[in-house]
Symmetry: C2
Subunit: 238 residues, 2 copies
């Protein structure tokens, strides 16, 4: 990320560059293993100049987390066009792209956040801010899902189906990162199938979810991931 030859940047441009450099380093290692010196060197500027833009590692780490959260939330945005199964599959691909790019940082964060450090990372205020950020991404994913399902006022059980599927996507990604023993492309399809499966279970318990499942079944093409799941299950059963 070093620019080699220094050139003058505006304040906001420099801040954004530093956040990008920091995010790349924090994605690969735990925050207490990344030093301000390293960030300065990767950005091609001096250590004091980093402190000119950010009071310390904590504020730089928080800015990097915020950018990652916005990036991730943005990947859930998907045009309301075409069948639902194909849309979900594109979203899952972008989600795994994100997880792939930010692997170790994503793991550390989702497994309870980074440890307490002298910089204030892991402090009470920081932990609360981090949880609020994670919750805001989950909420963004939840709202995107509802809008794709064309639901504005979900029953408690439909809400549970959608929220618990989002958490299933998180835990599947974390288990995948621990060894990468299943190809990610298969897990992207599997998570789309898992959504249909959890919705089907929800449908036997709840009318709202049953109505949703009927709409999904009616609108899915014969070559979509949902139809593929049903076809494969039928051939397994026979």
């Amino acid at each position: 990320m070093s620019t080699g030859v220094r050139r003058r940047m505006g304040v906001e441009e420099r801040r954004q560059q530093l956040i990008g450099v920091a995010l790349e380093l924090f994605s690969r290692r735990s925050p207490d293993e990344v030093s301000i010196d390293e960030i300065a060197s990767a950005a091609g500027i001096s250590r004091p100049l980093v402190y000119h833009y950010f009071p310390g590692k904590l504020s730089l780490y928080e800015a990097a987390l915020k950018r990652a959260a916005e990036d991730l939330a943005g990947r859930f945005a998907e045009p309301h066009e075409g069948p639902l199964g194909a849309r979900l599959l594109r979203v899952m691909r972008r989600f795994f792209d994100f997880v792939d790019e930010h692997g170790p940082g994503f793991s550390a964060l989702m497994r309870g956040g980074p440890a307490v450090s002298a910089d204030g990372i892991g402090s009470r205020e920081h932990v609360s801010a981090t949880h609020a950020l994670i919750d805001s991404v989950r909420q963004a994913a939840y709202e995107q899902m509802l809008s794709h399902l064309d639901v504005t006022d979900p029953s408690p059980r439909l809400e549970l189906v959608v929220r618990s599927w989002i958490s299933l996507a998180e835990s599947t990604a974390l288990i995948w990162l621990d060894g990468r023993r299943v190809p990610r492309a298969e897990l992207e399809v599997q998570l789309v199938h898992d959504f249909a499966a959890l919705a089907a279970v929800g449908a036997v318990h709840d009318e709202d979810t049953a109505a949703l499942l009927h709409t999904m079944a009616r609108n899915e093409p014969a070559d979509g991931p949902f139809a593929e799941l049903v076809g494969r299950l039928m051939s397994l059963a026979s």
Copy 2:
């Protein structure tokens, strides 16, 4: 929990009593809201006597967490008798009993652990110890599941099915605690159904999981939760 009249207890008996009293208080509120004075008063002893047995709130909190973790791990133990669906349902009942008894403490812990406090709760060492404890309970649940599935060397995808179902049970319990808007008895059945659904999705992608699903289908009675799910799905589809 106050005994009213004090009686002499042996050292180990007193320690165990204090852990029980502390666990009950920590289950209802976040650890920074529970004071040593309150624990002493609930146990019917003086504050200095509490410190005689535990150097501080942190060690008492850790002992309480350890007891809760052992308690929870113990609830996954289930005799290897009768059909799998019924066994899983009994385990889910005991899991929700636990979640019900320890609601606020369980939520606080699973949502990233308690905040840092002056007692050392939330410190780097404490956070690591807490995560290790949570992971040991997940691992106990995973091993119990494998033994009930009669599997010793699972394929990566079967491992993923089992581990991700365990995390689905956790997140379903956490969503349930936030408002309790779906009766817990329904969620216990739903989670058993979810396991069958996730296993069915796994089966279309993986031979080991397909073999497991066939065994499950062969051994389940017509009035068990798995057969009920299939029956209800059939009537939804028609």
